[in-house]
């Protein structure tokens, strides 16, 4: 499915005038109209606004006036990010008709740099999920389900009748799917426990979660606040770097970014080895993984090491086993808190009857929040009550500190950590519906970066059958530029 034009060639074509912003947009719109009936990535399309913006950019280019860094690139946005006067559904019935009155900080930046925003993308409800089946509206389908070996779209009949519809990963499944199928040049997604890296791996694209506090979350609906970051999804690491340089930087409206400086745009040092680096290969990242996946990733790392001459070190991070329990307990707690505001009284779903306060709020929440979100709210409420807090919440905080310490130690010894992004291949839609634990376990390799606030990305490194495999790169806190740059080096080794 090598359909993707590389980001650099698109930007070059746009810059040289060979491709106008309008023409680029029309190509994308055509693909959306052709394939989104099958892929189901978009919650809402903004074709009119996008066409107006593209036209305006073209006029500026024609007049020789300056344009922004993303000029003419078509960007789609995960629908947990606020785009002024558009629906911000978060994939939930609770906010099905909620029109948000302001732009997220990242959306302001997209506009300022002349991106063409084409629409909003589906996701698991309030980003709670690993496969996009938990959207309240519809499940997005992994494009690999529809494209054959040669990159040809399977006939509609085959597609409809296919029993083998793979999940795109989640929760930002539609962001990765949209990039993979060419609905947009770049996409914005969010990652709380792997929600960018998992779908990037499953759809065969690049995705990057920045260091915690690098990108302003102002305008990103909360899932678990101490874990999440907004990040780029792109056909290649260069696209990630370009988008990251635009969206990163301090913002007084998100206090956790107070001291942040923007990540530089990819320059001449990008994707170039600057020194001999040491790469840690934690055995825990391979032990529980599907053997085919483990082998594919090991092979890819080996090829890269041979070509680049970097040093590989076998390491062990035993605390990985505490990652899932610590992560989920804290996520539940923060999520239950974040979801308090959805009471049906201010915005979103309206209560049916005007009963007493508590039953009114209770009814509207019962009717409009999905099963997985409810599960997390109930568990989060339970473990933060006075009675249970010490046994669960406080312990999980300690476990988090423990995991963080071990990763920091490992990254003192090594410059980067490499391993698989996901322990398994994409599964078929509905396969893991019965048991939420099965689904949680898929996050084992991605949550540590969120627990520790580390930058981490996924690059495609192999295919097993038609299913892509992602290689994960984890860097030191604050080394976002270097981490994406390493992703690009790995990518060029494997592709080239």
């Amino acid at each position: 499915m090598e359909l993707l034009p590389r980001t650099l060639s698109t930007t070059a074509a746009l810059k040289s005038g060979k491709l106008t912003a309008s023409a680029n947009l029309e190509n994308k719109i055509a693909r959306v109209e052709k394939y989104d009936g099958a892929v189901r990535a978009f919650i809402e399309t903004y074709f009119d606004d996008a066409r107006a913006k593209a036209k305006e950019i073209d006029a500026r280019v024609a007049a020789g006036k300056p344009v922004g860094k993303l000029s003419g690139l078509v960007v789609a946005v995960k629908n947990v990010l606020a785009v002024k006067d558009k629906k911000l559904t978060c994939g939930s019935k609770m906010l099905e008709n909620y029109v948000v009155p302001y732009d997220a900080a990242v959306v302001e930046k997209l506009r300022a740099e002349d991106a063409v925003i084409i629409g909003s993308l589906n996701c698991d409800e309030f980003a709670c999920g690993s496969d996009n089946t938990k959207s309240a509206f519809f499940a997005t389908v992994n494009p690999v389900s529809f494209f054959d070996e040669k990159g040809e779209f399977a006939s509609a009949a085959t597609a409809a009748g296919s029993t083998e519809k793979y999940v795109p990963g989640g929760s930002s499944g539609a962001s990765a799917a949209a990039v993979a199928v060419g609905f947009c040049d770049l996409a914005l997604a969010t990652d709380t426990g792997g929600s960018i890296r998992c779908p990037a791996a499953f759809c065969g694209v690049s995705g990057f979660k920045p260091t915690y506090g690098t990108v302003s979350r102002y305008g990103m609906a909360d899932m678990a606040m101490s874990f999440e970051q907004i990040g780029p999804v792109a056909p290649d690491a260069y696209g990630c770097a370009l988008l990251l340089s635009v969206i990163s930087g301090g913002d007084f409206r998100d206090a956790t970014t107070a001291k942040t400086v923007a990540v530089p745009a990819p320059n001449s040092t990008f994707a170039q080895p600057t020194k001999k680096i040491r790469i840690g290969i934690p055995k825990e990242y391979f032990e529980g993984a599907n053997p085919q996946v483990a082998k594919a990733v090991k092979d890819a790392i080996g090829r890269f090491a041979t070509k680049s001459g970097c040093e590989l070190v076998d390491i062990s991070i035993p605390a990985v086993k505490f990652g899932i329990p610590a992560y989920y307990l804290l996520v539940y707690s923060e999520f239950a808190s974040a979801m308090q505001k959805y009471d049906g009284l201010k915005y979103g779903a309206k209560p049916e009857a005007n009963d007493e306060l508590v039953p009114t709020v209770s009814k509207v929440r019962t009717a409009n929040i999905g099963k997985e979100c409810k599960r997390r709210i109930m568990l989060g409420t339970y473990i933060t009550t006075k009675e249970h807090k010490d046994a669960w919440y406080t312990k999980a905080l300690k476990a988090r500190a423990y995991v963080r310490k071990q990763f920091d130690d490992a990254l003192t010894n090594c410059d980067f950590i490499l391993g698989p992004t996901m322990p398994n291949l994409p599964w078929i839609i509905g396969e893991k519906a019965a048991d939420p634990l099965q689904s949680y376990l898929e996050d084992v390799l991605t949550v540590p970066a969120n627990l520790c606030g580390l930058p981490a990305g996924s690059v495609p490194c192999a295919k097993i059958g038609k299913l892509p495999v992602g290689l994960q790169v984890i860097g030191r806190r604050g080394s976002d530029y270097e981490t994406v740059s390493l992703m690009a080096q790995i990518e060029s080794t494997l592709v080239g």
């Binding site: 007084f252 998100d254 206090a255 919440y393």
Partner: protein, 464 residues
């Protein structure tokens, strides 16, 4: 059982709004009292629209909180303060949790009341139960909560404490005007050895006294009659000056506190504390002490003068020109009575300080009597004196001067002639008749006589 055997124990939680232009976690204006309408001073952040986060905490608000903590003499300043989320469902809270900090400082005392701790939090919006309207103009206004130990022994003690607290806040300029609903309190009250009752929704300094007085007598009566007060939360009904048991509990008392992941812990440095401490003004208690020593003011005078900084400062300037004892007595008595009567602060009041100084000068020269001086002051406070000076106004009103003994004697003769019946009554042994005649003498003099001199001359004249 006798009343005096029952000991009352009171603890207070006082919320004061810090004097800041913008809210604690966004840049909206804090003015909710004179805002054009409901939900005028709001933004996505303080209405908790999906996706919003708290801005960096308003550093000025935090500085005001530190100032107050230091002024209360808190001896344990915490070096790290964490914002927490306190969860409860209520329409006045945009996110259904309130951001409230861990203690900023502990220890300290004021007016014999020890302070447990102080912390900073966000004010909720305002929810009108009757109309169902929610106004978020107030949501996010910075509040300081001051928690006292349960050591207050009577409603009167509570009032004295609050008076001094109010004075401290006034000196620091760190809190918003305390009488306009920007101070609220919850109280815990129990009779020693009996159940504790919490009283909520007290919305003024005066309300604290009323609520505690009502609750004290309610609980004492119960105990005297062999009844045990129920452990409960009661609501203060300000219109009726009573407390009412809440009909039913809306939620369980578990706020599921967690540290707010969106707010970084705030560090308090020694340098910061030193800078703020060095900048603190002379506080009311110190000033009272100094006024007693420096000006020979009595305890009452020092207290009355020092409860408001503007008044204390005015006194010191006036005392440079006029006899300090006279000025202290006049300001504490005549002036303060008029201020209280009108519920006015000194700072907001005409007449100007110049007018008062001049009035005191003619009073000290005995050019007017105390009675006339009070009348002139009342006229001036009523705005009748306009731009004229105190001396001029007194002159124009024909009130300048004090009657001489000779003048008084002739007026007395006139008054006796007009009140023959009272003279007869007095001679028949009715002492009250003398007061009546004295009153009519004063009336003829328009107050320009010394009442004591009148009494003396009258007695002399009638008993000779």
């Amino acid at each position: 059982m006798d009343d005096s055997e029952l000991t009352v124990i009171i603890g207070l939680e006082i919320h004061v709004q810090l004097a800041t232009k913008s809210k604690l976690f966004c840049s909206c204006n804090t003015d909710y009292q004179t805002a054009a309408g409901p939900n005028e001073n709001v933004c996505p952040t303080c209405t908790a629209q999906p996706g919003t986060k708290p801005y960096d905490m308003n550093a000025y608000a935090f500085e005001q909180a530190l100032k107050i903590a230091l002024a209360l003499g808190c001896d344990k300043m915490n070096d790290k303060v964490t914002m927490q989320r306190k969860h409860y469902f209520y329409p006045d809270s945009p996110s259904n949790y309130q951001r409230t900090s861990t203690p900023i400082a502990e220890g300290g005392s004021l007016a014999g009341v020890s302070i447990t701790e102080v912390h900073i939090e966000e004010d909720p919006g305002r929810y009108d139960l009757k109309t169902g309207i929610v106004d978020y103009n107030r949501a996010g206004v910075p509040l300081l909560e001051i928690v006292t130990d349960p050591v207050i022994t009577s409603p009167d003690h509570a009032r004295k404490f609050l008076e001094e607290l109010r004075a401290v806040l006034n000196y620091l300029g760190a809190a918003r005007d305390v009488e306009s609903g920007s101070m609220r309190a919850d109280a815990n009250l129990s009779i020693k050895g009996h159940n504790r009752v919490e009283v909520k929704n007290i919305n003024s300094f005066h309300g604290v006294f009323s609520a505690l007085t009502y609750e004290t007598s309610r609980q004492k009566n119960m105990v005297k009659n062999g009844l045990e007060p129920v452990r409960e939360t009661r609501h203060f009904d300000e219109d009726r000056d009573i407390t009412l048991g809440l009909r039913k509990k809306e939620s369980v008392d578990d706020y599921r506190y967690i540290p707010d992941p969106d707010v970084q812990p705030i560090a308090i440095t020694k340098e910061q504390l030193k800078r703020i401490g060095d900048g603190l003004p002379e506080l009311p208690r110190k000033k009272m002490e100094r006024f007693r020593k420096q000006y020979g003011a009595s305890d009452d005078e020092a207290h009355a003068l020092c409860m408001e900084l503007a008044m204390a400062d005015a006194f010191e300037r006036i005392a440079k020109k006029v006899d300090a004892k006279l000025a202290a007595g006049f300001m504490r008595g005549t002036l303060k009575k008029q201020l209280n009567f009108r519920s006015w602060d000194f700072a907001k009041v005409a007449p100007k300080e110049q007018f008062i100084t001049e009035l005191l000068l003619i009073l000290s020269d005995r050019k007017v009597t105390d009675k006339v001086a009070e009348k002139i002051l009342i006229d001036a406070m009523d705005g009748k004196a306009g731009q004229t000076t105190a001396a001029q106004y007194t002159q124009d009103a024909g009130l300048m001067g004090v009657q001489s003994t000779a003048e008084l004697e002739s007026i007395i003769e006139k008054a006796l002639a007009e009140n023959q019946k009272a003279v007869d009554d007095f001679k028949a042994g009715n002492q009250k008749a003398l007061q009546f005649i004295a009153g009519s003498v004063m009336k003829i003099t328009k107050g320009k006589a010394d009442p004591a001199a009148v009494q003396e001359l009258l007695k002399k004249r009638l008993t000779k």
